[in-house]
Amino acid sequence: MKKTSVETAVGVFVLIGLISVAYLTIKLGKMDWFGDDYYTLDARFNSVSGLKAGAVVDMAGVEIGQVADIQLDNQRQVAIVNLKIKKGVILTDDVIASVKTSGLIGDKYIRLTPGGSDRILNTGDMIIETESALDIEELVSKYVFGDAEK
């Protein structure tokens, strides 16, 4: 009857809406609905200027995780970056984390360069060897005005 046709139409609408919401939150928002497929590592950088939470973590050009969180370590005055790494990617304790830029003015991301150690990093461990963000302005000023430290 009339009543059921209204209800069906509303049902279809809600379904389409839910699919759209699901696409946005799961696919684009990368919401972890299905348990935690990641383990987390910390890395300490002198500067992470330009790096944002959600930025890509890659190794050899393959995406292996994301930046979960960036905080300031108040005691040492350096940046602590929390990385989410896909389970199954094995990293060792001498891996080098460096902040890189895709293109000249593109997004910042973190590149992990593998090491040769046999000690494997687990959740909560710290990556010790890091390279901070390349500051183009600093580079240019060094080039133009000469390096004061030299």
């Binding site: 209204v6 609408f13 389409i16 809406g17 839910l18 759209s20 946005l24 684009l28 919401m31």
Partner: protein, 267 residues
């Protein structure tokens, strides 16, 4: 003597001008809170809410898809010609998706719903007011705010986020149509940019906006209709037309004002 009288009069007029909007805002706020309370009071009015979701939501899907598609397409076009100047047309997916999800989606969807459903709400409730139907509800001991406003509020809070999500998704596809199919950006690049640039915060922010807009739009439109009989500028059918007009104009203005305020809080 007369002069001092005129001055006092002018001051009183100024005072009235200052007080009346504040008073009006207070009345709207009370109206809104009454609606919220009755929305959750038993017995729940589920079938009325479903009817209203049909009216506000289902019937708006076509319009939302249409406007969403063209908004996405024009964003793709404009974005491409702007980004190509900096040689970074690969970022088009990010530009389209972010502007849709953070701004255009919630705002344009809300404005389209105002045009389609908000005006109708104001007119319907206004006519009920002038033909004594609201008085009739009161004589039957049916609370008119509960009966008329709460189901619409509930339905809007359900429909707005869904319509916004549909608008966003259709818009992103629209951007793909112009960006990739017409202007030749690699389609994989477009979608990977869309995926990598959008964060959960952006999506949450967009939904927070659409919830706020839902509350604002329905409250303003229903309130305008509900108080049609209090208008001093016109009665009867004229009053309904004035209510409808001011409901649409006020809603649109308040959407944009609230959008600015919310954005400044969310960023």
């Amino acid at each position: 003597m007369t002069q001092s009288y005129t001055i006092t009069n002018m001051l009183a007029g100024l005072g009235r001008m200052a007080i009346s909007p504040v008073q009006e805002f207070g009345r709207v706020a009370i109206f809104f809170f009454r609606g919220v309370i009755y929305l959750f009071s038993f017995p729940l009015q589920a079938d009325k809410i479903i009817d209203q979701v049909y009216f506000i939501g289902t019937k708006s899907v076509f319009v939302i898809c249409l406007t969403g598609a063209f908004t996405g397409m024009v964003l793709g076009l404009q974005g491409y010609y702007t980004l190509v100047k900096f040689g970074s047309e690969g970022l088009l997916g990010a530009a389209v998706a972010l502007s849709l999800i953070r701004e255009m989606g919630p705002v344009l969807a809300a404005i389209m719903i105002v045009a389609r459903a908000g005006s109708a709400m104001a007119a319907e409730i206004g006519i009920m007011r002038i033909s004594e139907q609201i008085d009739a509800l009161e004589t039957m001991d049916i609370n008119p705010v509960r009966f008329l406003f709460s189901p619409r509020l509930g339905a809007a809070l359900i429909s707005f986020p869904f319509l916004t999500a549909i608008f966003d998704v259709v818009g992103i596809i629209g951007g793909y149509v112009t960006g990739s199919l017409l202007l030749g950006i690699n389609s994989g690049l477009y979608f990977s940019r869309v995926e990598s640039s959008v964060l959960m915060e952006d999506i949450n922010g967009g939904f927070a906006k659409s919830f706020c807009f839902a509350a604002i739009v329905v409250t303003i439109c229903c309130y305008q209709g509900y108080t049609t009989h209090l208008r001093k500028e016109g009665f009867g059918a004229k009053g309904v037309s004035l209510s409808t007009t001011s409901a649409v104009v006020l809603s649109c203005v308040m959407i944009l004002v609230a959008d600015y305020v919310l954005t400044s809080f969310l960023l």
